[in-house]
């Protein structure tokens, strides 16, 4: 479907545009987001590290404070045994300072427990027991400060002991039981970002302090994923599930670890907001690009679609359609081109229609002319035939020899008339068929005029007319044979339509041309008929004018020959006063060596005696023509063998060898030539041949001893052709060998 293809072009434009806009936009968005994400995480990790370290500081501070208070107590001089009450007051003050401490034990330098204060049980003093083996005592003595492992009382509450020894050897050692639930307050006080939290574990990964006390009381053990010596900004599963960003720092003093964790969702909330924003902006950009892309592609494809639709309408034949594109770019030019093309197409289409109408009219006219021609020709041919019938019938019944001679002369006249008629028709047909090629040459006009005078002086005189030929020394370029024919026809025509007066033939120079003019004092031609006088068989029917023996072909031949030679033919006429026909021939300078036109005369009769005693083979399928031809040749002194076809000819010839072939061209010139070749092959020599064709369109240049004649063939033409062929065919030896009459 065509719209599908246009649609794909639209998509291509759109996709290309989107790719150009969207790819960099998305790439930049992704890159910027990634960068922002990394920076955000790095900042977060750094922040978390700082917060964890600050938190660890606070935890350490919490224990430092306890240790400091306990250290103060170690400096108090222990009273003698039994008088510990005063010391108890001091110890009570220390206890009061430390709410996390539940029990306070003061041991002397040798490890004897002297004072025991408690928030829960009874306070005691005096010799309370030996603590010298207590790790709290020994370690404190050795290292100054001792932190015990964490112990969960009643399986729930975390407790530890802190022991501090005085610096001097005889200083006391103070051991404190610390309820670690109080660390929760410190832990909860550590601000870890907005939604984060901090918690403490010991080395055994037991949870010691957490803002959610219940986790501690439940003795939660921290999963392995969260263990390790310390890390910053690790993304992992949090203590209570869910992904968190966690950091872990060591607190050296009690040997614990402070964790800070922030739910990843919270951590990335701001980032997500930024990314969402960036995403929206990108989407917005893409949407904008899409809209712009669609609009641009529409603008691109729209005119193309209109072009397409317009071309379709034009293609469907509506050439009046015009494509309207006003984009101001190449597409508009293209539309204009389409429109111009459509205009030209429309114009040529109209011209074509006109031409077709004209040609149709011409054809109709030609058809009319042909019908008229056939009607006229059949009428004109019937007249002499009718006369012949009558003469022949009269001749048969005539016994008077003189009268028979006169009748034979009348028969010959009628035949001459018929021959002339056929000659005219033949010429006309050959001219119409384009079968005549003009043979232009340079020639003097005077010999031409001389022949006119010689030919027509007698007929003019017979009609009581004066023929005057004005001499000329001009030279012209034309075909001598056909120019002579024009002139003869004009003179003949002038004589025919002139009843009295004279006919003047002359030449006149005008406009680089030589105009050969034939003036008469005849009937003249009415203006309405001037166009039609050149039509075949048209004869002016002037009042009282003789129809005479005119064929009505003369002027048609003149016109056609004028067209063929490129000579304009004009006619001037005054009805009742006379006419002037003239033909314009291009002038040339004189050429002294030019061949005299008289020698170009085509139908020179050959010497008649050449034909005698020669063997001629006549092949013609038509029996009447065959017999007439054979009879004529026989009359001319030839020996004749006649046959209907080649096989019969071969048979009839027997051993005889014909010297001349007269073949009817019935099945085309090629077949006839083949027959000639066959016969020549049989005789083993180049026997000359005359081909007689009824088809005037067949042309054959006379060569190789073969001549083509067109029907009807005048007996004299046949005789001339035969004589010439036999003359040229005979070699000198043969000529010598041939017996002469």
């Amino acid at each position: 479907m065509t719209s599908w293809r246009v649609g794909s072009l639209f998509r291509k434009y759109l996709l290309a545009f989107l790719a150009v806009v969207a790819v960099p936009l998305l790439a930049y968005g992704a890159l910027a987001s990634w960068q922002q994400f990394r920076e955000h995480r790095a900042t977060l990790a750094e922040l978390q590290r700082l917060q964890a370290e600050a938190g660890a500081q606070r935890i350490a501070q919490f224990f430092d404070e306890i240790a400091l208070q306990l250290a103060w107590a170690t400096h108090l001089p222990l009273p003698a045994e039994g008088a510990e009450d005063a010391h108890r007051l001091d110890a009570a003050r220390v206890l009061r300072q430390l709410p996390a401490v539940t029990d306070l034990v003061v041991a002397d330098a040798v490890g004897q427990e002297r004072v025991h204060l408690s928030r829960v049980s009874l306070n005691r003093s005096g010799r309370l027991g030996d603590r010298s083996a207590d790790p709290a005592f020994t370690a404190a003595r050795r290292y100054g400060v001792y932190y015990s492992p964490v112990e969960f009382r009643r399986d729930s509450e975390p407790y530890m002991r802190i022991a501090v020894a005085g610096r001097r050897r005889d200083d006391a050692v103070v051991i404190a039981e610390v309820n670690l639930k109080h660390v929760r307050e410190v832990i909860s006080g550590i601000r870890v970002q907005p939604k984060g939290l901090a918690w403490l574990t010991d080395r055994q990964r037991r949870l010691i302090a957490h803002p959610d006390m219940s986790l501690v009381l439940r003795n939660t053990r921290v999963p392995d994923a969260l263990a390790g010596e310390g890390y910053v900004g690790r993304v992992t599963e949090g203590l209570q599930g869910g992904p968190v960003i966690a950091s872990r720092v060591a607190i050296t003093e009690p040997g614990w670890f402070l964790h800070v964790e922030l739910p990843r969702r919270e951590a990335d909330a701001a980032l997500h907001a930024t990314l969402w924003r960036a995403g929206w902006i990108t989407l917005l950009g893409l949407a904008l690009a899409l809209v712009v892309g669609v609009a641009l592609s529409r603008r691109m494809v729209g005119p193309i679609r209109r072009l397409h639709a317009g071309a379709e309408v034009l293609g469907a034949g509506d050439l009046r359609h015009r494509i309207d594109i006003r984009t101001g770019d190449e597409l508009q030019d293209l539309g204009a081109q389409f429109n111009a093309m459509a205009e030209r197409l429309q114009a040529s289409y109209e011209r074509l229609e006109q031409k077709v109408a004209e040609r149709t009219r011409q054809l109709a006219e030609a058809n009319d002319a042909k019908s008229r021609f056939i009607a006229a020709a059949s009428h004109d041919l019937r007249q002499p035939l009718h006369a012949l019938h009558l003469l022949v019938a009269q001749w048969r019944g005539e016994t008077d020899p003189e009268e028979r001679v006169r009748l034979a002369g009348a028969v010959a006249d009628a035949l001459g008339h018929l021959d002339a008629l056929f000659g005219g028709i033949l010429d006309l047909t050959r001219l119409d068929a384009g079968a005549i090629a003009p043979n232009r040459t340079v020639l003097a006009v005077q010999p031409l005029l001389d022949r006119v005078a010689a030919t027509w002086a007698t007929p003019a005189a017979d009609r009581g007319l004066r023929l005057r030929v004005v001499p000329s020394r001009a030279w012209v370029c034309s075909d001598p044979q056909w120019l002579a024919r024009i002139l003869h026809n004009l003179v003949s025509n002038a004589l025919r339509y002139t009843r009295r007066g004279r006919v003047l033939v002359g030449a006149r120079r005008r406009g680089g041309m030589l105009w050969l003019e034939v003036h008469d004092t005849g009937v003249g031609i009415p203006p309405a008929e001037r166009e039609r006088i050149f039509q075949e068989f048209y004869r002016v029917r002037a009042a009282g004018g003789s129809q005479g023996e005119g064929l009505g072909l003369g002027l048609s031949i003149v016109e056609r020959l004028g067209n063929l030679l490129g000579h304009p033919v004009e006619v001037l006429s005054q009805p009742g006063r006379g006419s002037c026909f003239r033909v314009g021939v291009p002038l040339t300078p004189p050429v002294p060596d030019a061949t005299p036109p008289g020698e170009l005369e085509p139908d020179l009769p050959a010497p008649a005696d050449k034909l005698a005693h020669h063997l001629v083979l006549v092949v013609d399928a038509d029996a009447r023509v065959r017999e007439a031809t054979a009879g004529l040749l026989d009359q001319w002194g030839c020996s004749v063998v006649a046959a209907a076809g080649l096989p019969q000819a071969m048979q009839a010839l027997g051993s005889l060898e014909p010297e001349l072939l007269v073949l009817d061209v019935a099945d085309g010139v090629d077949a006839a030539l083949a027959d000639v070749q066959a016969l020549r092959h049989r005789c083993s020599r180049e026997v000359p041949a005359v081909l007689v064709s009824g088809d005037v369109t067949i042309q054959l240049v006379a060569r190789n001893g073969i001549v083509l004649l067109h029907k009807p063939v005048a007996p004299m033409s046949l005789r001339a052709a035969c004589s010439r062929l036999l003359d040229t065919a005979l070699t000198p030896e043969e000529a010598a060998a041939t017996p002469t009459a």
Binding site: S118, R119, V120, Q240
Partner: protein, 329 residues
């Protein structure tokens, strides 16, 4: 350590994307629109301190009466039948949560329901068999241990510090209270350690003792009366009558000292009551009672009534002033 079922359930329920959403704020997201809490106290309603801090704590956590909280408070005054009646009504409704004050009420609640979570405020849930473990209560009960009996000796010690001359003291307890045996035992052990003679007076249930008891104690030369905190609600009557017979009253809760008792030593009752609101909140939001360990107090308050001491002709020794968290009057 044992896995936490709550965590596993949540992990199963949530997609990777939803995990962050459900982790910390997830509990809050599960909060029901409305909550109905049934509060039952073994005491009388005389002491507003047993309920008001809870109400405040709930309000701070977003549970406001009339908006999203209905709080049914019932005080049974030591009447077991009445307590059971109240609890049966709670279970029938049913309430979303029960807050039980005092060991008897907690026991009654435990009997009444095994499904409705119960937040208890009791002296010693481990010793009285309410739970088998403080860290993992395992039943539908959790809450706060007030460590009542633990401090019996300490109170006697402080009494001796204030009244060095006292030789004979009495303990007033309620026979129906499961803690009473512990109280008596702890107090007797301390008395023995301090060289003090202890008389035990047990009433059938927490009720204001009549004048005859004090007359009798005074006649026997008893200088001080240790009152089991179960008598909260009758504290003013007890203190007033004791004063008349010049007998010093000591007990756990500050409310006694404010009423005129010589001294009180015990956990911060108001703070613990407030803490019960935290338990209620967590349970209402879907936490399982077994996942919330029973909490014990870590702070104890010694409150001394100087006026009472003066009236009894006692002076305050410096050590006691150091120990005292508050001195009234």
């Amino acid at each position: 350590m044992a896995p936490m079922p709550l965590r596993i359930n949540r992990r199963r329920a949530c997609t990777a994307l939803g995990m962050a959403l459900a982790s910390s704020s997830g509990l809050r997201a599960q909060a029901p629109e409305r909550a109905h809490i049934g509060f039952v106290s073994w005491f009388t309603s005389a002491d507003p301190g047993q309920l008001e801090p809870l109400r405040e704590g709930l309000r701070e956590l977003g549970w406001v009466e009339g908006r999203n909280l209905r709080l049914d408070a019932q005080f049974t005054g030591g009447d077991l039948a009445r307590t059971r009646e109240v609890l049966t009504a709670f279970v029938r409704q049913p309430v979303d949560l029960i807050v039980a004050r005092a060991t008897n009420a907690a026991h009654a609640a435990k009997e009444a329901t095994a499904t409705i979570p119960v937040v208890m405020l009791v002296s010693d849930p481990l010793a009285t068999g309410l739970v088998r473990s403080l860290a993992r209560p395992e039943a539908n009960l959790t809450g706060l241990s007030l460590q009542g009996p633990d401090l019996a000796g300490k109170r006697l010690e402080y009494l001796r510090a204030l009244m060095p001359a006292v030789r004979r003291v009495a303990f007033l307890g309620a026979a129906s209270d499961p803690n009473v045996a512990n109280f008596v035992r702890e107090t007797q052990a301390a008395a023995a350690g301090l060289g003090v003679e202890l008389q035990t007076r047990l009433l059938p249930r927490p009720q204001a003792p009549d004048e005859g008891l004090f007359r009798e104690l005074a006649a026997q030369g008893v200088g001080a009366l240790l009152v089991q905190p179960i008598y909260t609600g009758h504290h003013e009557t007890i203190v007033a009558q004791a004063r008349r017979h010049r007998i010093a009253v000591i007990s756990n809760y500050e409310v006694f000292a404010r009423a005129g008792a010589l001294l009180t030593y015990g956990p911060d009752d108001a703070a613990l009551t407030r803490r019960a609101a935290w338990f209620a909140d967590r349970l209402l939001r879907g936490a399982r009672p077994g996942d919330l360990p029973v909490e014990q107090p870590s702070r104890f308050r010694l409150v001394i009534n100087r006026a009472t001491a003066r009236a009894l002709g006692l002076s305050l020794p410096p050590e006691m002033l150091v120990h005292a968290d508050q001195v009234i009057g």
